[in-house]
């Protein structure tokens, strides 16, 4: 018995591992051929540069959704300010590389550190709040940090920061993959430690957790910092990958909502739920955005998707893919009856 109160059933875990193993094999074999060689050999997917971009974006959201899952899914504190950590990580790498001419590797190492330190500072007062108050206060963190960055001249103010362009799809794909694996492993390890039990206890009943000796403040802040470090790491990679950062592309509240939705759709509180949610939702969003329509329609699509998902499958797709419930009209009717007026 592990700490995961919402563990996946064995059959799903087996198939998930098989898929992950296949994906890993594919990814490890890819550089042996190189993109050019793959093009000549006509291997699917690898011939397409767009596919690399999409795959890297998907992995980025795997990191962010898994990071959110640690504070939102395991600890039960729905943070709407995680995007601030992403932005801070991006700006840490950005400022060090473009203003101070540091090598990217060093900047990338500092990105999660800065994000985690910031999480420590804001986490101590904010994690005393609960429910709506915590959610909106963290939303405020995201908006306010973005606004400050947008006004400070050494940070590029409203023009943004440009980083030297590095032309390699593979490097960033692997960096994001590494970050994604790290995020998933972190969640997996947490769920098997005393620390993980503590977080789940806080989620289920914070007073009771405190009574049985969980140092709730320390646990919550630590979970917040871990989430921040992971998200900041993804931000740091994004800064160099995109080679341009500004308030709009690294402090977007809609990104924060996306990571929550991914974790929730996939199944919050599980190890692989956020991964499944990030892959499926990001592919849907990319399809909406790439279908020749403007971004307005993809925004409408995302909004409607959001509404449909939270109304009809509030417990995440893992509920019926995991075999706990059958996917049927009756399931929808029942979830509706449970929550509606």
């Amino acid at each position: 018995m592990t700490a995961g109160g919402r563990r996946l059933p064995t059959s799903l875990r087996r198939s998930a591992f098989a898929i992950v193993a296949l994906a890993l094999a594919f990814v490890i074999l890819a550089p042996l051929t190189s993109i050019d060689a793959a093009q000549q050999a006509g291997l699917p997917l690898l011939t397409d540069k767009l596919w690399f971009r999409i795959a890297t974006t998907v992995l980025m959201f795997v990191v962010m959704a898994s990071g959110w899952n640690i504070i939102g899914g395991l600890t039960g504190y729905a943070s709407f300010g995680n995007v601030a950590f992403f932005g801070l990580g991006a700006y840490t790498a950005g400022v060090l590389v473009s203003n101070l001419n540091w090598p990217f590797a060093l900047g990338l190492l500092l990105a999660p550190v800065v994000a985690a330190v910031f999480a420590l500072i804001v986490g101590i007062p904010l994690l005393r709040l609960r429910g709506h108050y915590f959610a909106v206060a963290t939303l405020g963190v995201g908006v306010a940090v973005g606004e400050v960055v947008n006004n400070v001249v050494p940070l590029g103010a409203s023009t943004g920061l440009y980083l030297p362009i590095v032309r390699s799809d593979l490097i960033f794909f692997y960096l994001m993959l590494g970050a994604a694996v790290l995020a998933v492993l972190t969640t997996w390890v947490i769920l098997r430690t005393r620390f993980g039990y503590g977080l789940l206890a806080i989620r289920e009943n914070e007073e009771a957790a405190a009574v049985i000796g969980v140092n709730t403040t320390f646990y919550k802040v630590a979970a917040f910092c871990i989430a921040a470090a992971l998200t900041g790491l993804a931000g740091g990679i994004f800064a160099q990958w995109n080679s341009f950062i500004n308030q709009e592309n690294v402090f977007a509240i809609s990104d924060n909502v996306q990571m929550i939705l991914m974790a929730v759709i996939g199944g919050a509180g599980t190890v692989l739920g956020p991964v499944a949610g990030a892959i499926s939702l990001e592919l849907v969003i990319q399809t909406l955005a790439g279908g020749g329509t403007s971004s307005v329609y993809s925004q409408i699509g995302l909004g409607v998707l959001l509404a449909v998902c939270v109304i009809f499958i509030p417990r995440g797709v893992i509920d019926f893919f995991g075999g706990r419930s059958r996917l049927s009209l009756r399931y929808f009717r029942q979830t509706l009856r449970e929550t509606s007026a």
Partner: protein
Amino acid sequence: MSQFTQQVILGLLLGGVYVAVALGFSLVWGILNIVNLAHGALVMVGSYITWDLFTRLHIDPFLSLPVDATMLFVIGYALQRGVINRLIRAPLLFTFLLTFGINLVIVSLLLLIFTANVRSVTPSYSGSGLLLGSIVIPYIRLGGLVVAMALAGILWLILNRTRTGAAILAVGADRDAAQLVGVDLRHTYALTFAIGAAFAGVAGGIISTFQSITPTAGDPYTLQAFAVVILGGLGRVSATVAGGLAFGLIEVLGQSAPGLGSGYANAIAFVVLVVVLVVRPRGLLGRLA
């Protein structure tokens, strides 16, 4: 000294706008326990209706406020009855996500209908104001404050002097008990949200007279409405009025502080929010939870 008085007056006038924006937000939060992230988008719908009536039919922005209220009332009723009611008993994270989705859809629809171009409503009197010595009080701002106070009065009357208001308050106090004594829950939820939306629409009409509007211009108002409710306290009309005026003062005085500027409006709102939440969680006039 007169510089400072001018700032204080401007702060109170701006505070009036915040009162107008926050009244509906506070009602929906207090009664339905929903933090409505689509509130700013509803405000903008009101702005665009006023703008449309002004540019096409040359209707004075203050005269179009009842139209804003009526249309937003209908939209609000339909939204709550058709969509949000389905999720009213779900954990708050879900209503949060749902209202964010509604916000996204409304903003995108506004983008489709009105494009992203910056619009403004400029009646003939928009540049002039009341002169008191060296102090200027712009007419449109004064009109906004008057409308905001009227809104607060109307809300107080609805809640405390009508049968509907009694039903709304009863639902807010205890849903099950209200249902037992014969309150139609679904209708009352929808009515509450509709009133909140109507007030948002009127606030939007006021906002369009002094600020240029774009589809996303409403987003900051959601966070500011939240800060106002936190500052004043939840559950009373008078608390929202006090919170709004105080917040307007803080923002104007804060922005005139050295080193800060108008670019920091959200950051100031956030700092106010956190300080109040940590120091005095029930706000200036709020009741103990």
